[in-house]
C-alpha cells in the first residue's frame, strides 16, 4: 500500500485486544498486522484502498462517544487515538450479510458470490434476482485500479445504476489495453475472461499476439505488454527473444565457456552481476 502513515504511535482496541498503530494508518492494515481477520474484497496491496466493496465494514466507537458507534470501511479508515473497533459485531455481520444478499441478486451464477453468501447463511437472495444475469462482476473496481496503476488505464465503469459495468470506451475493445491480464488475475470473482489459442490471447474482446520464444515457441505474455512494460523499464527488445528456459540454457552455455573458473553470483547487491551485460562476462576471472 502506498499510504505511508507518518503519525504518532497510539494504542487502539480491536476485538478486545490492545494493538499499537500509527495515527493515519488504515484499520485493515493494523488488524492484519495483529493477525485479526477482516474480510476485504476490493483491497489489494498493489493499489491504494478505495472502499468500493464495503465488505471490510467494522464498527467503531470511543469511550467518549457515549454509547454511539458507526460502521466504517476498515480498508480506508485512518487510525485515531482511543478507537475501539469491533470486526464481527452484530451490526457488522448484518451489513455484510445484506451485501452478500445483494451480490447474489446481481450475480446469481457466480460461484464466488454463492460461496461467499453461503458463509453468511444465504442460499437464495431475498431480493429480486437480476432478470438477465448480466455478468459475474460485483463492481468492486479492483481491475480498474490495477490497470491504472500499471499504466494503461484502459478500462473504467460505464453506464449507471443497474446497467453499470466495467468496460473499455463505448463498451468496445479498449484501445489502451495491452493484454497483460493483470485485471483478470486480481478479479475476486474471476469474471474477466482470458482466452488463449494459436498464439493469441483475447481479453476485453481484443485479440493480442503472444510473444513466442524464437527457439522453442513457448508463450507467456503479449507482444504489446512486453513492448509497453519494456519501454517503461528501459529494456531493449533483445530481452524478449527467448523464453526463460531457453535463456537459462544460454546462460549455462556462456558460463560454461569459461569452465573451470568459479562463477560467483548473488547476495551482494552492488558486487553481484549487472544485468545488462552478456552472461559470459559474469563468470569471474582471476
Amino acid at each position: 500500500m502506498s499510504h505511508e502513515p507518518s503519525g504518532r504511535v497510539v494504542k487502539i482496541e480491536i476485538d478486545g485486544r490492545v494493538v499499537e498503530a500509527r495515527t493515519g494508518e488504515f484499520l485493515l492494515a493494523v488488524a492484519r498486522r495483529a493477525g485479526i481477520d477482516i474480510p476485504a474484497i476490493c483491497q489489494h496491496e498493489a493499489v491504494d484502498p478505495a472502499g468500493n466493496c464495503r465488505m471490510c465494514l467494522v464498527e467503531i466507537t470511543k469511550a467518549s462517544w457515549d454509547g454511539w458507534s458507526r460502521l466504517v470501511t476498515a480498508c480506508l479508515y485512518p487510525t485515531e487515538q482511543d478507537l475501539i473497533v469491533k470486526t464481527h459485531s452484530a451490526p457488522v455481520i448484518e451489513a455484510r450479510t445484506v451485501l452478500c444478499d445483494l451480490w447474489l441478486a446481481r450475480c446469481p451464477d457466480s460461484a464466488y458470490v454463492q460461496k461467499l453468501a453461503a458463509e453468511f447463511g444465504i442460499e437464495k437472495t431475498s431480493y429480486q434476482p437480476a432478470a438477465v444475469p448480466t455478468d459475474q462482476c460485483i463492481l468492486c473496481g479492483l481491475c480498474i485500479r490495477v490497470c491504472e496503476k500499471l499504466g494503461p488505464a484502459a478500462i473504467y465503469t460505464v453506464n449507471r445504476g443497474g446497467r453499470k459495468k466495467v468496460a473499455g470506451p463505448f463498451e468496445g475493445p479498449p484501445p489502451d489495453c495491452i493484454g497483460c491480464a493483470a485485471c483478470a488475475e486480481v478479479c475476486p470473482t474471476s469474471c474477466i475472461t482470458v482466452a488463449e489459442r494459436d498464439g493469441t490471447r483475447t481479453i476485453w474482446d481484443k485479440e493480442f499476439q503472444l510473444l513466442a520464444c524464437t527457439t522453442c515457441g513457448r508463450t507467456l505474455v503479449t507482444i504489446e505488454e512486453a513492448r509497453y512494460f519494456g519501454r517503461k523499464g528501459g529494456l531493449g527488445e533483445s530481452y524478449y527473444q527467448l523464453c526463460d528456459r531457453c535463456k537459462r540454457l544460454q546462460t549455462a552455455q556462456q558460463a560454461t565457456k569459461v569452465a573451470g573458473l568459479p562463477l560467483t553470483v548473488g547476495g551482494l547487491g552492488e558486487a553481484s552481476g549487472r544485468p545488462f551485460r552478456s552472461p559470459g562476462s559474469l563468470t569471474t576471472s582471476r
Binding site: H44, E45, A46, V47, V146, K149, G151, C180, A181, A182, E185, V186, L220, V221, E225, A226, F229, G230, K232, G233, L235, Y239, Y240, L242, C243, D244, R245, C246, K247, R248, L249, A252, Q253, A255, T256, A259, G260, L261, P262, L263, T264, V265, G266, G267, L268, G269, A271, S272, G273, R274, P275, F276, R277, P279, G280, S281, L282, T283, T284, S285
Partner: protein
C-alpha cells in the same frame, strides 16, 4: 550490506541435481526438479566429451527428460544457473507495482506475492531466464536465497554451491566480477 554471499563454482558441479530437488521440496513441496528455482545443465566431463562414442552410446540409452538429454550422472558434470540477484535488475525495473524488493538482510530480490498482480512481465525481463512462472502455484517464482538459508547450498555434496561469509570469500575486484565497468 549482507554479510553472506552465494558462491557457484562451476568446475565442482557433478550434475547430481540434489540442489534442484532440495529447492523444489523447500519452495513448492514437491520432488520436481522442473519447478526448482535453480537449474542444472548437465554437460559431459572432460574425459567424457560430447561426440565421443561413449557419450553417444549413453545418450541414446537415456530417456529424454523435459526436452533435454541427461548423460549418466557419474560421468557428467553440470553448470548451475540461478538468480544473480542483479544490482540493477531487469525484473525490478519492469515491475510497476513494486512487488520485487531487495531484502536488506540477504541482498536477495524477493517477490511480495500480496503486491504482485501477476502481469508476468518480470519473466521475459530477466536476461538470464531466472524469473519463472510456476503454473501450479500461478505465481512468478525466483530464487530468494531461501531468506538466508539456501537449501541448494545445504544439499550440494561437492561444494559447487556454497553460502559463505563475505569476508571468507576471495572476491575478485568488483570491476572484474562484472566484466569491468
Amino acid at each position: 550490506m549482507p554479510d553472506m554471499i552465494f558462491v557457484v563454482d562451476v568446475a565442482r558441479c557433478s550434475a547430481c541435481q540434489k540442489c534442484e530437488i532440495a529447492c523444489a521440496v523447500h519452495n513448492v513441496k514437491e520432488m520436481n526438479a522442473a519447478r526448482a528455482r535453480i537449474a542444472i545443465f548437465p554437460r559431459p566431463s572432460p574425459e567424457f566429451r560430447a561426440g565421443s562414442a561413449r557419450w553417444g552410446e549413453a545418450r541414446r540409452a537415456l530417456p529424454v527428460e523435459g526436452g533435454r538429454e541427461s548423460p549418466p550422472l557419474n560421468e557428467a558434470s553440470g553448470t548451475p544457473v540461478t538468480c544473480l540477484q542483479c544490482d540493477d535488475a531487469g525484473c525490478v525495473r519492469v515491475c510497476q507495482v513494486g512487488a520485487l524488493q531487495r531484502s536488506p538482510t540477504t541482498g536477495a530480490i524477493e517477490i511480495d506475492h500480496a503486491h504482485c498482480v501477476r502481469c508476468k512481465m518480470c519473466v521475459p525481463a530477466c536476461p538470464f531466464g531466472n524469473m519463472t512462472w510456476d503454473e501450479p502455484l500461478r505465481q512468478v517464482a525466483k530464487c530468494d536465497l531461501c531468506h538466508g538459508m539456501p537449501q541448494c547450498a545445504l544439499a550440494c555434496p561437492t561444494g559447487a554451491l556454497k553460502y559463505r561469509p563475505v569476508s571468507e570469500v576471495a572476491m575478485p575486484a568488483i570491476g572484474t566480477a562484472c566484466g569491468g565497468r
